[in-house]
Symmetry: C2
Subunit: 424 residues, 2 copies
């Protein structure tokens, strides 16, 4: 018995819990739902609740890594707030009885009631309150990357609207609205850069703040038929509004540049809020100004759905054969296929190549199946969608070479291992 | 306004949400509770529920990194199972009505009931069941690192027994008991190596399996007065039993080597279980053998409390001034203190040193406070417990040097920056 047949950077396909499926799931409601299940990324547990299988866990880990890095660059600090939020804090903000997606539960021993974090304003403000005394303690920005819970009436569109999902939530605290606005703009730019790394060209869209704020807020939208929103956007400039609040319709002229407006379905992948003093006043979070006066702190909140981001990327990057992952978030860098593996030469080359790639920190999924046809192996590679496919066979080795194919290209190339190692 | 005054590897103390406290919290019940709060690692939200503040988040991230690496070395794959576990699966194993620490909740829309994961046997077995067909698909080991929830009658001992806590749980699946036993032994050795990296000399202790199994199980214990368990152990050999199941008492002779047995309070920091076929039979998880016969899969389960590990390290590594973190899990590598920071020379040296340390990947917490006394800064450094303290002042620079002190040493040394950079 040996389980030690892998490492963080080399995985044998035959030993993975993640496996591809030829058939579509019967209840697939969207492309992301179908392809994430067929590629071995997620498995549905119940409506709106999914297990991240190993391939999916790796994609979400990459998404989280990109977000974490950008949040730290903003000067934000990472923490972990409780998922079990006390009823008292939700009573204090007046949201215990009004937020209808809040899962509630009670201890059988103490009778104490909790809400399961759908977001964490009620968690973070009391924590920051015990830290802030004067204007010298501001600004401050805090984030976490953790599961959130929403008792949705209907869970829809696969992983996009779940009852349990991954989310990065950041909260900012500033002494003045001017300081806040500057940070809000910087974060907006950071969000666009994050989504670009995921291969998503997001539109900054004016939207309503729901029960969070009466101020206008900004959503980040990816145009997609799998979306549940409709946005009105300009075909020329950056103007975009959620149709829920927009005065404009398809075909109207853009108020900024007079070009034509379009209306399309879209997925909300991020949302940033000017919360003003709503939550800070509820918890008496104030600071002493330079003149000794007592002032409320200005607060912002900034969310990105991490599992939803994965699903959105799948909606945007796929073909009829499967997913096409952008390099930055792919589960592995290289999908390696060996044919004629009984040949000593093939086996030797595979061993050499995986060692060399490993040494360079290039992660490899190696399809080592003995009982699968070449067609099965190629179909699995297309379903999983790793950006670089390398095929080694007696035929390629006759040319002292390997077959290299980018997932997003129609054509493969015969190149030497040397060329491959230099290009990855 | 600038929040961009830090990076992952350099943090200015004055801008951190984590701050030290001179006073003990009034309700402190244990050393870890007191020191983790005074050092700025955690903040209590309600009984048994804590926020990980930035310093605590970094320690737990380090703990998770060490565990993840060792699990991958074992050949295990990482996934993420739902926290909302369906009632149906718990009915199936007969545990819905018997596990009294299970938090239960219900959707207000669908009426569907869930248990909040206290562990994940009911989650993982149905997932693995859809993957395993024949003996060729075995063995398999799967792990996750995620929050768990337990409706404890009494939350005690600070972060040690919480209602919400971090845990790594791994599950193994084998075709034969022999294969399982071999993996179980390997994991036992891996656990001891993990705890050693945390600075914990753990004792492998025979224990009861509770509602999980009638087989003997093995707990990993750290002798500590903060513990809630009592273990009987040999002063000479590795014999150790939980007093709940032991026939032996303090002063008895060891059944293995005849040396004296002791009884001491201890903290359970890990637990590994031979689950046999209890859970796999409940979900019909079987495999076809080489002869075509249908056989039940043998299962094991392996847990480490990540937040509890942090608390245990604090119980074991402290003095009357604060925490003394082992290097591998310290929140930062270097605690930098600048005195006479109005001096251009001091400021220049601090800038140079932080850049050089950053370039080497050494993480630095820099106490940049202008309004704190030298005594305050030294006291904060001792409370936080970072292993290497570096102090720069006009006095040290007169000797073209800095003052270096290991947290676990009584004496400081005057050394050159060159020597410092070479030694870290």
């Amino acid at each position: 018995m040996s389980l030690t047949h892998g490492s963080e950077n080399l995985k044998l396909y035959s030993t993975s819990l993640s496996q591809t499926r030829k058939e579509s799931p019967r209840d697939a409601t969207s492309i992301n739902h179908e392809l994430l299940i067929r590629g071995g990324f997620v498995q549905q547990e119940s409506a709106g609740i999914y297990t991240l299988l190993p391939f999916g866990e790796r994609v979400v880990n990459n998404i989280e890594g990109i977000i974490r890095n950008e949040m730290l660059q903003l000067g934000a600090e990472e923490i972990s707030l409780p998922i079990l939020q006390t009823k008292e804090n939700w009573i204090r903000t007046g949201r215990w009885d009004t937020v209808d997606i809040l899962f509630k539960l009670k201890s059988r021993w103490s009778g104490k009631e909790y809400g399961l974090a759908p977001t964490a304003e009620e968690g973070i403000v009391p924590v920051v309150r015990s830290r802030i005394r004067s204007y010298k303690d501001l600004p401050m920005a805090i984030f976490q990357i953790q599961k959130k819970f929403r008792d949705e009436k209907r869970a829809k569109s696969g992983v996009i609207r779940g009852r349990e999902f991954g989310m990065k939530d950041m909260y900012s605290f500033h002494a003045t609205t001017q300081d806040f606005q500057q940070f809000y703009e910087t974060t907006r730019e950071t969000y666009l850069r994050i989504f670009q790394q995921f291969g998503i060209n997001a539109k900054v869209t004016e939207a309503s703040g729901g029960e969070y704020t009466t101020q206008p807020t900004h959503e980040f939208h990816a145009i997609s038929n799998a979306g549940e929103d409709l946005i009105v956007y300009c075909t020329n400039c950056t103007f975009a509004q959620n149709s829920e609040i927009s005065q404009f319709q398809h075909g109207d002229s853009c108020p900024h540049c007079n070009s034509e407006l379009k209306v399309d379905k879209s997925i909300e992948i991020g949302h940033i809020f000017d919360l003003g003093t709503k939550f800070t006043e509820a918890f008496d979070l104030t600071f002493a100004g330079p003149d000794g006066s007592n002032n409320p702190v200005f607060m912002g909140c900034y969310g990105i759905g991490t599992t939803r981001a994965m699903a959105t990327v799948v909606e945007l990057h796929n073909d009829d054969k499967g997913i096409i992952w952008p390099d930055a978030i792919a589960p592995y860098n290289v999908h390696l296929i060996g044919l004629n593996t009984d040949s000593e030469n093939v086996q030797h080359t595979i061993n050499f190549l995986t060692q060399e790639l490993n040494a360079r920190g290039v992660s490899v999924l190696y399809d080592d199946r003995k009982d699968a046809t070449t067609g099965d192996k190629l179909a699995s590679a297309d379903l999983i969608g790793i950006p670089n496919r390398v095929l080694i066979s007696t035929r390629t080795l006759q040319q002292k070479a390997i077959e290299f194919k980018r997932r997003d290209s129609k054509n493969s190339q015969i190149i030497t291992i040397h060329t491959l190692l230099n290009s990855l």
